[in-house]
């Protein structure tokens, strides 16, 4: 079995585990929905503030969901020595990381796609409407089709959740067998993912608010750059994370 097969096999294993137990799905969907609700209550007095905060709330919910998802995926492997068996397998450590990363990224992207209309509805933000406004008024990026804006928005969600998943899976592996891991994982992770959070929120706001593809693209460049750099850094360093 070559390395790519190993990566896909591990991703498939994690996704199958999730499909059967639904532990992560239930936890993340409900936690994200509760987060969106709580933030809606916090900012609900001002409808304009709520509409402009819709994407910010979405990304906060996704960030916390990423923490839960990554932590849970490692905990499941720590039971009954499954992780040691996995590490005893003659594949590179990076393959284990990539497999878990793919599984977590898939779950979080799916969650993001589900939360997007929810955030739009709860906060009164018209997801596709920004582009329609800009196209109708002839301003912003000129003729930006709503479908294109929504597609770029979905791409932003995928790029942002990739960044979260990269760091979350990495640090969750690091803290998996430490004491106080539940509180340590966000403490370690959030300062590192600040650029992702910032870039993703700004890009999403640009797309939803005014359909401004140029502004969104400026932030997307930072996002994609971060993803690329961290993919390399985490892949290279991962083997030091899981050594006994």
């Amino acid at each position: 079995m070559n390395d790519l097969h190993a990566v896909l096999w591990i991703a498939r294993k994690d996704l199958l585990q999730e499909a059967r137990s639904k532990a992560v799905t239930v936890a993340t969907v409900f936690f994200s929905a509760v987060t969106l609700g709580v933030l809606a209550f916090a900012f609900g007095e001002n409808p304009l503030l709520m509409r402009e905060g819709a994407m910010g709330a979405l990304w906060v919910a996704l960030a916390f969901a990423g923490v839960i998802s990554a932590a849970q995926s490692w905990q499941a492997d720590l039971e009954d020595g499954a992780l040691e068996a996995l590490l005893a397998w003659p594949v590179p450590r990076a393959a284990v990381y990539l497999g878990k990363l793919l599984a977590n990224w898939g779950l979080m992207t799916a969650l993001g796609f589900v939360l997007l209309p929810l955030a739009g509805g709860l906060y009164g933000a018209d997801i596709g409407g920004g582009a329609a406004t800009s196209a109708g008024a002839g301003g912003g990026g000129g003729e930006t089709a709503p479908a294109l804006v929504v597609a770029v928005l979905l791409g932003t969600i995928a790029a942002g959740t990739l960044g979260f998943a990269l760091i979350a899976v990495f640090y969750a592996g690091l803290t998996a067998n430490l004491r106080a891991r539940e509180s340590l994982l966000p403490v370690l992770m959030f300062p590192v993912v600040v650029p992702i959070l910032l870039a993703a929120v700004r890009a999403s706001n640009a797309l939803v608010g005014s359909g401004d593809l140029d502004l969104a693209w400026a932030w997307l460049r930072l996002l994609v750059g971060f993803d690329l750099v961290y993919a390399v850094v985490c892949l290279v360093l991962f083997r030091f994370v899981v050594e006994a």
Partner: protein, 247 residues
């Protein structure tokens, strides 16, 4: 048995170095407070800049070196590299905290607020959070080898995030149709004398960093030797067949 008491005494050359550094620090403070010109717009308030900017630059160097020493530890596995990494990390955290305090002191009279989301200040705050995470992780692991490895990884990831954090924080308020004005006081063009005083202050801050590093590394070696001695003693006392405790 190591003679901890003897090894804890500062060697004479270190005392001399620290003494000279103290004198140079007093000279730098005198230059900053007394012998440098006032600023055209900020008057005497600009003098905080000498303490704030110099310490900020050294804090970034210290955090960068923590990651470098960590990488060396991962590569070579010598305990000495881990000792250097911890010492540099402590200095980085200390100087970054001083930067924040200086920044808050600076922004209160100039901008009438204790905190601005200025790119550099935000970056320093994030760096403090990253280094605090580094030390929390170190505190949770008892095995020195694993501790060194894990904290090296944390330091490298943290240092790698700094350029991105800076870019994100820089664009945070400015990459937007409504531009905001960022005032960090140093300006692009600086009076020649002020630049000279700033560079001298930075040099002295670097000497202070080096002095603390030398002292801390000395202590770190004693700590490492003591730790090794204790773990050897514990192994000798442990009965046979005891299960291995993983951390």
């Amino acid at each position: 048995m190591i003679d901890a008491a003897a090894r804890l005494r500062r060697p004479p050359w270190l005392r001399i170095y620290l003494g000279i550094t103290l004198l140079l620090f007093l000279a730098a403070a005198a230059f900053g407070l007394l012998f440098s010109p006032r600023d055209v717009t900020q008057g005497d308030l600009i003098r905080i800049m000498y303490a704030h900017v110099s310490v900020a630059w050294i804090s970034f160097v210290a955090v960068g070196l923590t990651a470098v020493f960590g990488a060396l530890y991962l590569w070579r596995g010598k305990r000495r590299d881990d000792v250097l990494a911890v010492a540099s990390g402590e200095m980085g955290l200390f100087f970054a905290s001083l930067t924040i305090i200086g920044g808050m002191t600076y922004s209160r009279p100039t901008l009438n607020t204790f905190w601005t989301w200025d790119a550099k200040l935000t970056l320093t705050a994030i760096m403090v959070a990253l280094m605090v995470g580094y030390f929390i992780v170190r505190g949770l692991i008892d095995d020195p080898v694993r501790r060194g490895r894990v904290s090296a990884v944390v330091a490298i990831v943290a240092a790698a995030s700094l350029p991105f954090n800076y870019l994100a924080a820089e664009w945070f308020r400015t990459l937007h149709p409504a531009k905001s004005v960022a005032l960090d006081g140093s300006g692009v063009t600086m009076d020649g004398t002020m630049l000279a005083v700033l560079l001298f202050n930075t040099f002295v801050a670097g000497l202070i960093y080096l002095g603390f590093m030398l002292d801390r590394v000395r202590l770190g070696h004693v700590e490492a030797a003591l730790e090794e001695e204790r773990s050897l003693a514990a192994t000798r006392q442990a009965p046979m067949g005891k299960e291995v405790v993983r951390v």
